[in-house]
Symmetry: C2
């Protein structure tokens, strides 16, 4: 297929002029512009974007990492990112990392070798050093709090979220409260647990290890929780659960095993997934779509101001209690 040199030759002008036409530069004689456009049309010419990228040093692509693609929480974040990115003519490279630092590093690498202009990490498992290292090659935003010095973030205040949930349960006279979270040692989990333990301490309840469920990632994990709960000595009367999917598993299994919700077991979820609405699950919700939007905005600004050394910024989303039928 034709290239810009060929178009220039056919139009009897220089490549510079053709390039100006392609980029809507004003300093081109209107008659010539029309002529050139006609030839471009005839030749069915389009720029080779790889040449453009090489030349400009930008790709108009941003990377997005997430542990797994098929998950509503991450999908909602991406939805927010995608809408905002589209407005600014950016494309998204969505990379599933399976929470594997190796795979994550390969995505960070895209920043170094200039395949992407910036990166949003919906979750990350790389070390702080790795992140700081790659932050030198292009802007990175995480959608979790992070402990680096240079990587900004937009995140839900998970401490606050669990706090609100716990306060609500306590107000409803629950004292034996269990929790259910995903990855045991993630940043998010640490904040959630801190709120959980602080709140229980504030009402002088000593939490039993039997009330704690970690590494709950699937609906089935949620279901399994109920079986274990039934075997505990002092069964919790309420569970605070990091996500509504798991909460749904708990609720379904509970009613299958004859526990009524919320009478025998109250359940409160902690996200804004639609399954929560469908199953009428009480939840402490923040909009993950909005988080995605903010993440893109922050990234975009950094891409344009090139502030690789810019100071770290943290934006926190405050959760809201949505009272429904499971508490």
């Amino acid at each position: 297929m034709a290239n810009i040199r060929e178009i220039a030759k056919l139009a009897g002008v220089s490549v510079s002029t053709v390039s100006r036409v392609l980029n809507n530069h004003p300093y081109v004689n209107e008659k010539k512009r029309a002529e050139i456009l006609k030839i471009i049309e005839e030749q069915n010419y389009v720029q080779n974007s790889n040449a453009v990228h090489l030349s400009t040093g930008k790709t108009m692509v941003i990377g997005v990492t997430l542990p797994l693609v098929n998950n509503q929480y991450y999908s909602s974040i991406i939805e927010g990112i995608a809408a905002e990115a589209a407005r600014h003519h950016y494309k998204l490279m969505v990379c599933q990392t399976n929470n594997n630092p190796e795979q994550e590093r390969s995505v960070l690498h895209l920043l170094k070798n200039k395949k992407i202009d910036g990166l949003i990490m919906c979750s990350r498992s790389s070390s702080c050093e790795t992140l700081n290292e790659y932050a030198g090659y292009g802007p990175i935003i995480t959608c979790e709090a992070n402990d680096t010095t240079s990587v900004s973030s937009v995140h839900i205040d998970h401490y606050q979220t669990f706090l609100i949930g716990m306060e609500y349960l306590i107000k409803k006279e629950h004292r034996r409260i269990g929790y259910c979270i995903g990855r045991k040692n993630s940043f998010n989990s640490q904040h959630r647990k801190r709120a959980y333990y602080e709140k229980l301490r504030s009402i002088d309840v000593t939490p039993s290890p039997e009330w704690a469920f970690e590494e709950c990632l699937t609906i089935q994990d949620g279901k399994n929780v109920v079986g274990k709960l039934l075997q505990t000595e002092e069964r919790p009367t309420a569970m605070i659960v990091s996500c509504n999917h798991i909460a749904a598993g708990i609720i379904k299994e509970a009613s299958r095993l004859g526990l009524s919700v919320p009478e025998d077991l109250a359940v409160i979820g902690c996200d804004d997934q639609p399954i929560g609405e469908l199953l009428e699950i009480t939840t402490v919700s923040s909009s993950s779509t909005l988080m995605g939007k903010y993440a893109f905005e922050m990234l975009h600004e950094r891409i344009w101001t090139q502030q690789l050394d810019g100071k770290k910024e943290e934006k926190e989303l405050s959760p809201v209690l949505v009272e429904r039928l499971t508490t």
Copy 2:
């Protein structure tokens, strides 16, 4: 940052030799190779992928279009694509099109300007001509049946799916059966409707227009169906629904309004979304993840054999009935 020329100069060799090292070409003296690798390491050098792409004419990126990112059905397809793509070192550019032909065209364009090596369209709204036109620039696979001459597809046999569902409902003695589908005129919908009408005709039932619900896309749309059902003269005793999300909406709303499922209203869904399992919805299921996997395989083969003019291929996935509690 350093480029290949600089590395060559530092190592006292030509750029060709450095390039050979970078690409693991065998014909390089081992001592030199080690030396060059050391310098690459020291200089923290990596290839500029845009230059590589320009030179090789490949980007190792494939595009994926879908109407909206935040949807379990499409997410499962992407999951299948992503896993397979990762195995072959391809990255995914995920593009939300909102079922808008304009936006879809902008993605097809990526093929023309060489930003992607191939394209999987999880859904499409472009015309057949448009698709055929762009198929000349690179391989395209659709995850729906399509009526083009050149674009291959992997798809669920929606006709068969509805057929199985209808036969099952009829075997359960239902005669007044309604249906609920998404986009009114999509290829998929046409096949579904054909099965629906054929089956009803085979038992001499004249379908009422009141039993037909189209453009059902959200859970809320599903809920709305129930309200309308209650106002019909001859209420259907069963609904066949194109997706489990909508089915879930119907089921929830039905029980809220005092209709018991399946006694007053049987509901059968038609996909493999996890909400079906959670809510124990009977469903006619095909694995959308598997579909994604097949789509990538097919695309990958086409990318490597370059058969732009290859004959059209169609792979159909056969559905399976999963009997649960809503029928």
